[in-house]
Subunit: 296 residues, 2 copies
């Protein structure tokens, strides 16, 4: 990792944390317990990979950082909502997330349910109430893009496919289809929304969409490898959970060496989509490196 | 009830059901189980009070019915999402809704969780992808209005206050504060969004906002009276549930006669807000009658 990339990422992570602190309801505002739980579920946690992708894509298209901060926050709130609900007893029943007790453990199940619900709503409030681009009609398109990536034909749909796959043997295309929805949709949305805060052509957007797809899938493959290899302390969440739950993963399907190869191939494919952008896409390249090579 | 109001309501209810069938994901599209559960939770049920309020407010402001249908659908999807989540074991743990098994009973808890999540997302997708008014900037305001009414300082916040109130003795203002959020926020949103699809002045919007507030509160008071009086078959959901759950209601706080008086007073106050609209507000008046007088 180049030193200036580490600085860039740290500066954006730190600035973004302030943005999140500002857009989340303050903890002393009623209903306090819900607002505290929302902040608990979002703040001080995670690598903020999706926001960093949005910032890098926004830099590529000359976008205003304040505008990109809002789409990055919206995407991260959707991600956080999905984690809170995914960790609940009726889903993955997990007790540890980002090194802390999960929301329903720290608070209670009913509060966790409302916390996830309210984080999703806040995401859409943010993208409606702040200017994201110069054309309101384009902003409506951006809100639609976020909704499609989030809903039953995006992230939530991927979770439904995941539920249906427990105990089944999926083919590689079926596993890919699940992840393209479950994690890929929101990662693509982060890249595209960040870019759309600036000036970008449809052809460029198509390249960035392909980039997001490759990186999103690589992200999941790497996660599966890490989940199979790492211990709980390093991961910040319960390790080996997927295999225990009899969920198909790239590791159970391919084994660790072939899963690593797949991640490397996706990384190369992602790099190929950025050729036409030249030096301007350097941050996106560095992020792809970061996502795929982080622990290998 | 005037015959032509009954016809008007029946025609809108029937046409609206077709709108919902069209905007919900088709049951054969993957992930099928999730899409089927979304349709199960929304279709063939309920009086569609919020959509009728939107249609009546839209008629008052000369709005295009197709546009009002979209905001009515969005509001109804938010309402349906809240019912699905509210019925889950970690919340009210109810098994019967609109005369049918609740979503988590008919499917499973994980599917119900994703169903509520996806219905909320679809609501925001609808208001972003369809034109609701002539000015995109105003449409962004409308999306924000829906989000604020839905989120932690609206409906979901009211549910959080409700959770915190179990086993406590609330004062009348505290109970009112809970309901203004829990049911009132979305009912007000239905009226305001329906009106904003047409041409409406800020002063008129303020009157309609007050109308929505009174009707929303009256709706809850009547619900409490019905819950205390009716049997399960008539109500289509488990009767006497609130008292069983040791939840404060207008009936436990005031008794049935005073609760009825309160509903009648709110009805009068609602009527007063419509004076300046004259005959054009007839449907809204009839709806207020319908909501408050339905079972008395």
């Amino acid at each position: 990792m180049r030193a200036d990339f580490a600085q860039w990422a740290a500066a954006h992570q730190s600035g973004f944390e302030e943005v999140l602190r500002g857009v989340l309801p303050q903890p002393e505002i009623a209903p306090q317990r819900l607002h505290q739980a929302m902040r608990y579920a979002v703040l001080d946690g995670g690598k903020r990979v999706r926001p960093l992708l949005a910032f890098a894509a926004g830099e590529l298209t000359g976008a205003d950082v304040a505008r990109v901060s809002i789409v990055a926050a919206a995407v991260e709130l959707v991600h956080a909502y999905s984690l809170v609900h995914d960790d609940m007893p009726c889903m993955d029943d997990d007790v540890l997330r980002r090194g802390k007790p999960t929301c329903h453990v720290q608070y209670d199940e009913a509060t966790a349910l409302l916390t996830g619900d309210s984080l999703q709503t806040l995401a859409f409030q943010l993208v409606a109430e702040h200017p994201l681009c110069d054309e309101p009609l384009q902003q409506l398109e951006m809100i639609k893009l976020l909704a499609v990536a989030t809903g039953s034909r995006g992230m939530a749909g991927g979770q439904a496919i995941d539920l249906a796959s427990v105990g089944k043997s999926l083919s590689l295309p079926e596993l890919e289809n699940m992840h393209i929805h479950k994690t890929g949709a929101l990662i693509r949305a982060a890249v595209l929304l960040g870019a759309q805060c600036g000036s970008v052509s449809p052809a460029q957007l198509a390249c960035l969409d392909h980039f997001g797809k490759c990186v999103g899938l690589a992200f999941q493959v790497v996660d599966d490898v890490l989940d199979a290899e790492a211990d709980t302390a390093t991961l910040g969440k319960t390790a080996g959970k997927d295999a225990d739950n009899d969920k198909p993963t790239y590791v159970t399907l391919l084994g660790i060496p072939a899963a690593r190869d797949m991640a490397r191939n996706l990384h190369q494919e992602a790099m190929g989509t950025l050729t036409e952008f030249g030096e301007a896409a350097q941050r996106l390249r560095e992020l792809a490196d970061f996502i795929v090579l982080r622990k290998f």
